[in-house]
């Protein structure tokens, strides 16, 4: 599986559509995309490894956007 496939695109745009529609303005499109890419690329990787990537992603996000 890879993020270029049609299914991933559908999945991403479905969630992103909700993000825009429901005014989750503080959640950026890039963050959502990066999270889903991590999940897809580490589909069957050990939980703690994926979790570390997710933690890094959010830590990095929060560190760079201190207002959040």
């Amino acid at each position: 599986m890879n993020k270029d496939n049609e299914n991933f695109e559908k999945m991403f745009y479905t969630v992103d559509g909700i993000r825009v529609k429901k005014n989750y303005e503080n959640i950026t499109q890039k963050l959502l995309f990066d999270l889903l890419v991590i999940e897809e690329e580490n589909y069957d990787v050990e939980h703690k490894v994926v979790m570390k990537n997710v933690i890094d992603l959010f830590d990095d996000y929060f560190n760079n956007i201190p207002d959040n």
């Binding site: 479905t14 969630v15 503080n26 959640i27 999270l35 897809e40 589909y43 990787v45 997710v54």
Partner: protein, 659 residues
């Protein structure tokens, strides 16, 4: 798209060493084989290759031995391997699953005698074991195998999807996995886990903040006390400085007074004078007392004579008393001897004559008793002696003693005179003596007061120092308790983070619901499209997907028709598999053993027509006559890529021969 390029089977079932190369074009491959020749074993070899799955014939331990090729076993070769070459997009993979006999097992009897291992190379690079396992799980998750490699006769399990059994829920999970839904569900799970951590940190900080606030209040209070104490200490320090300056000033003033040294000398002489006066007075009293006692010395000789006389009387009495005591002891012995009629000393028995003798001696001794009045005289004499001795000492004062005291008195009087002369001289020498002396006394009194003030100030400073030290220690102790100081800004950031993650989790929650619903709609639509082509019953217009991805048939009237027919459950299941493949993030091959099941001829033909819509790579394992060969070739046309026969050399040697 995952496309299998070749399968190489070594020592597995009836396959001693067989390789099947697939056409790289999209289409259908058919493997023909009669019952019992090796179609199911081919499917099992694929499952072993991809998932390490070994068919269990009722004895799991023995299962591995049961699949080993009999000819190989006969020649002592018990190893098995399956190699599958496949490609995903532009990447080439080579997967080999080995079942090798352990070194120490000459003749393996079960799984414990085997090492099962996996080798996976991606674009000719061999992956490390853990990486290979992980990559393979990503490419072909085991729980989705039912959608790639399956037995047509087992398709009916899909009709149970509408039931809420454990099996159907497992199947539902597999369907959602092949559709890629776990990407979202796992994303939500991970966000929730991260949020839980942030929420815990927030809670922790809120608690700490509250606790810290109390500690901060206490520290502030202590710091105020400390400040007060330091101010007071400073006040006392200033006072001390002031008193010390005053002390220096007094010293200067005293120094300024002329003849200050003489004044001091005068004061010292005055002190000595007072002491000598005291001694003279004491000595005079003593001498007076001695003189008063002196007249008693006239009767001293007479008293001594009388004392001697009395002494003679008492001595005589004491001597008599001693003899009497001796007689009394003798008499007692006699009396005891008489009573016992035996001598108390030698224990000799006494006869009457002896007793008479003893009685006689006893009466003689009795006559020697001291008269009672002698004792009274003795005691009176003793008392008189004591009175005489008491006065005897006082009466023994000699003129020499008196002279000694008198000389001492003279010396003291001389000393006093000398001091008085010196004092007179000093008074004469000191100019304006009275005034200066008074001034000096005043300065000394002031000096004394200032010194007291200095001592008090020093004590106050020391007390404050101790209080300050105690306050500082308490402050340090409390500050250490605040391990991590939380400020309002940080707390606010954590609250925002928590809210942000809650929003994110809600977004994913809604995303999962919506995406699942969209997937179902798409699966339902694609399955319905396939169904319309597959089914000859034109009144059945579409399929309706239920909560668990089970499919029901919809009559043109809108009525839901339960799938009761085995043939139709087969059709519906194949439609579901086709729809799932179409909507799966990874599309793969479909290997179907005996796909026609209980289909009638018409639906068998329809099956042929929709094969290429189920997957880009379809491999059918058919028994001869299962499907009409002419129809297959005609209907599939160029989509029929290759046909193979499974040909038996003998029961344990099957070859895959291209037609």
């Amino acid at each position: 798209m995952l496309k299998v390029k070749s399968v190489r089977i070594y020592g597995f079932g009836p396959y001693i060493h067989q390789t099947l190369d697939f056409d790289d074009r999209n289409g259908v491959t058919i493997i023909w084989g009669d019952n019992g020749v090796g179609k199911t074993t081919f499917i099992n070899a694929l499952k072993f290759g991809f998932y390490g799955e070994i068919p269990n014939f009722g004895n799991e331990e023995k299962s591995i031995v049961n699949i080993v090729n009999q000819h190989n076993m006969d020649s002592g070769n018990y190893d098995v391997s399956v190699t599958i070459e496949f490609e995903i997009e532009d990447d080439d993979y080579s997967l080999t699953r080995y079942a090798k006999v352990k070194n120490n097992a000459l003749k393996p009897e079960g799984l414990s005698d085997y090492d099962i291992s996996l080798s996976l190379a991606k674009n000719s690079r061999v992956l490390a074991p853990q990486e290979a396992k992980s990559a393979l799980n990503t490419i072909m998750p085991e729980n989705t195998s039912r959608f790639f490699i399956f037995d047509g006769e087992l398709l009916e399990e899909y009709t149970r999807l509408s039931e809420n059994t454990q099996q159907s829920l497992k199947l539902k999970d597999s369907i959602e996995q092949i559709l890629g839904l776990p990407i979202l569900t796992k994303a939500k799970m991970h966000v929730d886990e991260y949020k839980k951590n942030v929420s815990n940190q927030l809670l922790d900080r809120e608690k700490k903040s509250d606790k810290n606030k109390k500690i901060h209040d206490k520290i502030s209070s202590l710091k105020e006390d400390l400040e007060d104490d330091e101010k007071e200490k400073e006040y006392y320090a200033n006072e001390l400085l002031e008193f010390e300056n005053q002390f220096k000033e007094i010293a200067k003033e005293r120094y300024k007074i002329s003849d200050g040294a003489k004044l001091q000398e005068y004061d010292e002489l005055k002190k000595s004078h007072e002491e000598i006066e005291q001694n003279i007075s004491t000595l005079k009293s003593k001498i007076k007392e001695l003189i008063n006692e002196q007249w008693r010395g006239l009767i001293l000789n007479r008293l001594i004579t009388e004392k001697m006389r009395l002494k003679n009387i008492t001595d005589k009495y004491e001597e008599d008393k001693s003899i009497f005591d001796s007689h009394k002891r003798t008499r007692d012995i006699y009396q005891i001897s008489i009573n016992k009629r035996a001598c108390e000393v030698c224990q000799k028995k006494l006869n009457n004559e002896d007793i008479d003798l003893l009685n006689k001696k006893m009466s003689e001794i009795k006559s020697l008793d001291i008269p009672k009045e002698n004792k009274e005289i003795y005691e009176k004499c003793k008392s008189s002696i004591m009175i005489i001795e008491k006065y005897e000492h006082n009466l023994s004062v000699t003129p020499e003693t008196l002279k000694f005291y008198s000389n001492n008195l003279d010396n003291l009087i001389i000393q006093r005179s000398t001091i008085e002369i010196k004092m007179e001289t000093l008074i004469k020498e000191i100019e304006d003596f009275d005034n200066q002396r008074n001034q000096n006394i005043l300065l000394r009194d002031r000096e004394k007061i200032v010194l007291e003030n200095i001592v008090n100030a020093k004590e106050s400073i020391e007390t404050k120092n101790q209080k300050i030290k105690k306050h500082k220690e308490e402050i340090t102790k409390l500050e250490n308790k605040i391990k991590e100081d939380i400020n309002d800004e940080e707390l606010e950031i954590f609250k925002k983070k928590d809210k942000f993650l809650e929003d994110f989790s809600n977004l994913l929650d809604e995303g999962i619901d919506v995406f699942r619903s969209e997937l179902k709609d798409r699966v339902e639509k694609d399955a319905s499209d396939l169904f319309k082509k597959f089914s000859n019953q034109k009144e059945f217009v579409e399929l309706k997907i239920n909560e668990n991805y089970g499919l029901d048939i919809v009559h043109k009237s809108g009525v839901i028709v339960p799938v009761k027919s085995s043939g139709f459950s087969h059709i519906v299941s194949l439609c579901l598999i086709g729809a799932l493949h179409k909507n799966a993030p990874v599309q793969g091959p479909v290997f179907i053993d005996s796909p026609s099941g209980r289909l009638d001829e018409a639906h068998k033909n329809n099956l042929i027509n929709i094969l290429t819509e189920i997957s880009n790579q379809v491999v059918l394992l058919l028994y001869h006559g299962e499907l009409d060969e002419q129809n297959i070739r005609r209907n599939l046309g160029p989509s029929l890529l290759n046909e193979y026969n499974l040909e038996q050399e003998d029961a344990f040697d099957v070859r895959i021969i291209e037609r």
